[in-house]
Assembly symmetry: C2
Homo-oligomer: 133 residues x 2
Protein backbone atom coordinates (compact mmCIF):
# COMPACT_ATOMS: atom_id res chain seq x y z
CA UNK A 1 0.00 0.00 0.00
CA UNK A 2 1.39 3.37 -1.04
CA UNK A 3 1.98 5.83 1.77
CA UNK A 4 1.07 9.49 1.18
CA UNK A 5 3.70 12.14 1.70
CA UNK A 6 2.88 15.06 4.03
CA UNK A 7 2.34 17.19 0.93
CA UNK A 8 -0.10 14.64 -0.53
CA UNK A 9 -1.97 14.44 2.78
CA UNK A 10 -2.34 18.23 2.90
CA UNK A 11 -3.50 18.25 -0.70
CA UNK A 12 -6.11 15.55 -0.04
CA UNK A 13 -7.38 17.35 3.07
CA UNK A 14 -7.66 20.59 1.08
CA UNK A 15 -9.63 18.89 -1.72
CA UNK A 16 -12.02 17.20 0.73
CA UNK A 17 -12.58 20.48 2.55
CA UNK A 18 -13.18 22.39 -0.68
CA UNK A 19 -15.84 19.85 -1.61
CA UNK A 20 -17.46 20.21 1.84
CA UNK A 21 -17.43 24.01 1.58
CA UNK A 22 -19.04 23.94 -1.85
CA UNK A 23 -22.00 22.02 -0.45
CA UNK A 24 -22.05 23.27 3.17
CA UNK A 25 -25.74 23.71 4.09
CA UNK A 26 -25.07 26.47 6.62
CA UNK A 27 -23.16 28.50 4.06
CA UNK A 28 -25.97 28.14 1.56
CA UNK A 29 -28.48 29.25 4.21
CA UNK A 30 -26.41 32.30 5.21
CA UNK A 31 -26.16 33.26 1.54
CA UNK A 32 -29.95 33.07 1.22
CA UNK A 33 -30.57 35.00 4.47
CA UNK A 34 -28.07 37.73 3.70
CA UNK A 35 -29.34 38.41 0.17
CA UNK A 36 -30.61 41.97 0.13
CA UNK A 37 -34.36 42.15 1.03
CA UNK A 38 -34.77 38.39 1.50
CA UNK A 39 -34.95 38.39 5.31
CA UNK A 40 -37.12 41.52 5.40
CA UNK A 41 -39.59 39.99 2.94
CA UNK A 42 -39.79 36.78 5.00
CA UNK A 43 -40.38 38.79 8.19
CA UNK A 44 -43.10 40.83 6.44
CA UNK A 45 -44.82 37.61 5.31
CA UNK A 46 -44.62 36.24 8.87
CA UNK A 47 -47.52 38.65 9.49
CA UNK A 48 -49.68 36.83 6.92
CA UNK A 49 -50.36 36.69 3.19
CA UNK A 50 -49.36 39.88 1.39
CA UNK A 51 -49.96 41.34 -2.06
CA UNK A 52 -47.02 42.66 -4.08
CA UNK A 53 -48.07 46.25 -3.38
CA UNK A 54 -48.21 45.54 0.38
CA UNK A 55 -44.62 44.31 0.32
CA UNK A 56 -43.57 47.35 -1.69
CA UNK A 57 -45.13 49.65 0.91
CA UNK A 58 -43.41 47.76 3.76
CA UNK A 59 -40.01 48.01 2.02
CA UNK A 60 -40.21 51.39 0.28
CA UNK A 61 -36.51 51.66 -0.51
CA UNK A 62 -36.54 48.42 -2.56
CA UNK A 63 -37.18 48.87 -6.28
CA UNK A 64 -40.00 46.86 -7.86
CA UNK A 65 -37.40 45.01 -9.91
CA UNK A 66 -35.40 43.99 -6.82
CA UNK A 67 -38.56 42.88 -5.01
CA UNK A 68 -39.65 40.80 -8.01
CA UNK A 69 -36.24 39.13 -8.27
CA UNK A 70 -36.02 38.42 -4.54
CA UNK A 71 -39.60 37.08 -4.34
CA UNK A 72 -38.90 34.80 -7.30
CA UNK A 73 -35.71 33.52 -5.68
CA UNK A 74 -37.49 32.85 -2.36
CA UNK A 75 -40.32 31.09 -4.23
CA UNK A 76 -37.78 28.97 -6.13
CA UNK A 77 -36.10 27.97 -2.85
CA UNK A 78 -39.45 26.94 -1.35
CA UNK A 79 -39.78 29.69 1.29
CA UNK A 80 -42.99 31.15 -0.11
CA UNK A 81 -45.76 30.46 -2.59
CA UNK A 82 -47.09 32.88 -5.19
CA UNK A 83 -50.76 32.70 -6.10
CA UNK A 84 -52.42 34.55 -8.94
CA UNK A 85 -56.13 35.33 -8.84
CA UNK A 86 -57.57 36.26 -12.24
CA UNK A 87 -59.26 39.61 -11.64
CA UNK A 88 -58.97 43.11 -13.00
CA UNK A 89 -56.31 44.00 -12.13
CA UNK A 90 -54.78 40.53 -11.63
CA UNK A 91 -54.17 39.85 -7.92
CA UNK A 92 -50.81 38.31 -6.94
CA UNK A 93 -50.35 37.16 -3.36
CA UNK A 94 -47.39 35.74 -1.47
CA UNK A 95 -47.60 33.38 1.51
CA UNK A 96 -44.89 31.69 3.59
CA UNK A 97 -44.63 27.92 3.20
CA UNK A 98 -44.26 25.86 6.42
CA UNK A 99 -40.51 25.77 5.72
CA UNK A 100 -40.44 29.55 5.31
CA UNK A 101 -42.38 29.99 8.54
CA UNK A 102 -39.93 27.68 10.34
CA UNK A 103 -37.07 30.06 9.51
CA UNK A 104 -38.73 33.03 11.22
CA UNK A 105 -37.59 32.18 14.80
CA UNK A 106 -34.00 32.02 13.54
CA UNK A 107 -34.37 35.41 11.83
CA UNK A 108 -35.91 36.81 15.02
CA UNK A 109 -33.01 35.43 17.09
CA UNK A 110 -30.52 36.99 14.65
CA UNK A 111 -32.36 40.33 14.95
CA UNK A 112 -32.35 40.16 18.76
CA UNK A 113 -28.63 39.32 18.88
CA UNK A 114 -27.81 42.06 16.36
CA UNK A 115 -29.86 44.71 18.16
CA UNK A 116 -28.20 43.79 21.48
CA UNK A 117 -24.62 43.73 20.14
CA UNK A 118 -24.29 46.13 17.21
CA UNK A 119 -23.20 48.94 19.55
CA UNK A 120 -20.40 46.76 20.97
CA UNK A 121 -19.31 45.81 17.44
CA UNK A 122 -19.05 49.46 16.42
CA UNK A 123 -17.16 50.31 19.63
CA UNK A 124 -14.74 47.41 19.00
CA UNK A 125 -14.13 48.66 15.45
CA UNK A 126 -13.42 52.20 16.63
CA UNK A 127 -10.98 50.89 19.29
CA UNK A 128 -9.22 48.62 16.79
CA UNK A 129 -8.88 51.40 14.24
CA UNK A 130 -7.52 53.80 16.88
CA UNK A 131 -5.00 51.18 18.09
CA UNK A 132 -3.88 50.36 14.55
CA UNK A 133 -3.88 53.84 13.04
Amino acid sequence: MATMTAEQRRSAAKAAHEEYMATCPTHQLLDIMSAKWASLILIELAGGTRRFADIGRALPSASAKMLTQTLRSLERDGFLTRSVTPAVPVQVEYTLTPMGASLIPLLAAAKDWADANIGAIHSARARYDADNA
Copy 2:
Protein backbone atom coordinates in the same frame (compact mmCIF):
# COMPACT_ATOMS: atom_id res chain seq x y z
CA MET B 1 -48.74 73.71 7.35
CA ALA B 2 -47.76 72.38 3.92
CA THR B 3 -49.32 69.07 2.95
CA MET B 4 -47.16 66.51 1.17
CA THR B 5 -48.30 65.13 -2.13
CA ALA B 6 -48.53 61.35 -2.52
CA GLU B 7 -45.29 61.46 -4.49
CA GLN B 8 -43.55 63.43 -1.72
CA ARG B 9 -44.82 60.98 0.88
CA ARG B 10 -43.47 58.03 -1.12
CA SER B 11 -40.17 59.81 -1.55
CA ALA B 12 -39.90 60.56 2.19
CA ALA B 13 -40.77 56.94 3.09
CA LYS B 14 -38.13 55.70 0.63
CA ALA B 15 -35.44 57.99 2.10
CA ALA B 16 -36.27 56.96 5.68
CA HIS B 17 -36.18 53.29 4.73
CA GLU B 18 -32.88 53.67 2.88
CA GLU B 19 -31.38 55.21 6.00
CA TYR B 20 -32.75 52.36 8.15
CA MET B 21 -31.36 49.75 5.74
CA ALA B 22 -27.92 51.36 5.73
CA THR B 23 -27.70 50.96 9.49
CA CYS B 24 -29.88 47.85 10.02
CA PRO B 25 -28.12 45.79 12.73
CA THR B 26 -29.47 42.47 11.46
CA HIS B 27 -28.15 43.15 7.97
CA GLN B 28 -24.74 44.01 9.34
CA LEU B 29 -24.73 40.80 11.39
CA LEU B 30 -25.74 38.64 8.41
CA ASP B 31 -22.96 40.24 6.37
CA ILE B 32 -20.45 39.35 9.11
CA MET B 33 -21.77 35.78 9.50
CA SER B 34 -21.89 35.05 5.79
CA ALA B 35 -18.36 36.30 5.06
CA LYS B 36 -16.38 33.33 3.81
CA TRP B 37 -14.64 31.45 6.70
CA ALA B 38 -15.95 33.76 9.44
CA SER B 39 -18.57 31.40 10.89
CA LEU B 40 -16.28 28.38 10.56
CA ILE B 41 -13.49 30.19 12.42
CA LEU B 42 -15.87 31.20 15.22
CA ILE B 43 -17.14 27.61 15.52
CA GLU B 44 -13.55 26.31 15.62
CA LEU B 45 -12.72 28.80 18.42
CA ALA B 46 -15.83 27.70 20.33
CA GLY B 47 -13.72 24.64 21.18
CA GLY B 48 -11.15 26.84 22.94
CA THR B 49 -8.09 28.98 22.22
CA ARG B 50 -6.37 28.07 18.94
CA ARG B 51 -3.06 28.91 17.31
CA PHE B 52 -3.00 30.10 13.72
CA ALA B 53 -1.67 26.72 12.54
CA ASP B 54 -4.53 24.93 14.37
CA ILE B 55 -7.10 27.01 12.52
CA GLY B 56 -5.32 26.36 9.22
CA ARG B 57 -5.47 22.60 9.87
CA ALA B 58 -9.19 22.80 10.76
CA LEU B 59 -9.96 24.75 7.55
CA PRO B 60 -7.50 23.29 5.06
CA SER B 61 -9.15 24.77 1.97
CA ALA B 62 -8.70 28.35 3.24
CA SER B 63 -5.50 30.07 2.13
CA ALA B 64 -3.25 31.58 4.83
CA LYS B 65 -3.99 35.00 3.34
CA MET B 66 -7.78 34.52 3.61
CA LEU B 67 -7.47 33.22 7.18
CA THR B 68 -5.32 36.19 8.18
CA GLN B 69 -7.80 38.66 6.64
CA THR B 70 -10.83 37.00 8.21
CA LEU B 71 -9.20 36.70 11.66
CA ARG B 72 -8.25 40.38 11.51
CA SER B 73 -11.80 41.35 10.56
CA LEU B 74 -13.29 39.26 13.39
CA GLU B 75 -10.78 40.76 15.84
CA ARG B 76 -11.67 44.26 14.64
CA ASP B 77 -15.38 43.54 15.17
CA GLY B 78 -14.73 42.31 18.73
CA PHE B 79 -15.51 38.61 18.22
CA LEU B 80 -12.05 37.35 19.15
CA THR B 81 -8.78 38.48 20.68
CA ARG B 82 -5.32 37.86 19.28
CA SER B 83 -2.46 37.38 21.70
CA VAL B 84 1.20 37.22 20.78
CA THR B 85 3.69 35.40 23.01
CA PRO B 86 7.30 36.31 22.29
CA ALA B 87 8.98 32.97 21.70
CA VAL B 88 10.94 31.31 18.91
CA PRO B 89 8.94 31.00 16.78
CA VAL B 90 6.53 33.71 17.95
CA GLN B 91 3.26 32.18 19.22
CA VAL B 92 0.00 33.77 18.07
CA GLU B 93 -3.23 32.61 19.67
CA TYR B 94 -6.88 33.43 19.05
CA THR B 95 -9.65 33.29 21.67
CA LEU B 96 -13.35 34.12 21.47
CA THR B 97 -14.46 37.19 23.42
CA PRO B 98 -17.65 36.86 25.52
CA MET B 99 -19.50 38.56 22.64
CA GLY B 100 -18.03 36.07 20.16
CA ALA B 101 -19.01 33.18 22.41
CA SER B 102 -22.55 34.56 22.69
CA LEU B 103 -22.96 34.25 18.91
CA ILE B 104 -22.19 30.50 18.89
CA PRO B 105 -25.75 29.35 19.83
CA LEU B 106 -27.12 31.38 16.92
CA LEU B 107 -24.58 29.82 14.53
CA ALA B 108 -25.45 26.38 15.91
CA ALA B 109 -29.18 27.07 15.37
CA ALA B 110 -28.47 28.20 11.80
CA LYS B 111 -26.47 25.00 11.21
CA ASP B 112 -29.27 22.82 12.62
CA TRP B 113 -31.92 24.55 10.50
CA ALA B 114 -29.74 24.34 7.38
CA ASP B 115 -28.92 20.66 7.87
CA ALA B 116 -32.62 19.85 8.39
CA ASN B 117 -33.89 21.86 5.40
CA ILE B 118 -31.21 21.99 2.70
CA GLY B 119 -32.68 18.88 1.03
CA ALA B 120 -36.12 20.52 0.83
CA ILE B 121 -34.57 23.69 -0.60
CA HIS B 122 -32.82 21.76 -3.36
CA SER B 123 -36.03 19.81 -4.12
CA ALA B 124 -37.99 23.06 -4.31
CA ARG B 125 -35.42 24.50 -6.74
CA ALA B 126 -35.58 21.43 -8.98
CA ARG B 127 -39.41 21.56 -9.03
CA TYR B 128 -39.44 25.29 -9.74
CA ASP B 129 -36.93 24.93 -12.58
CA ALA B 130 -38.89 22.01 -14.08
CA ASP B 131 -42.16 24.00 -13.89
CA ASN B 132 -40.57 27.09 -15.41
CA ALA B 133 -38.38 25.45 -18.07
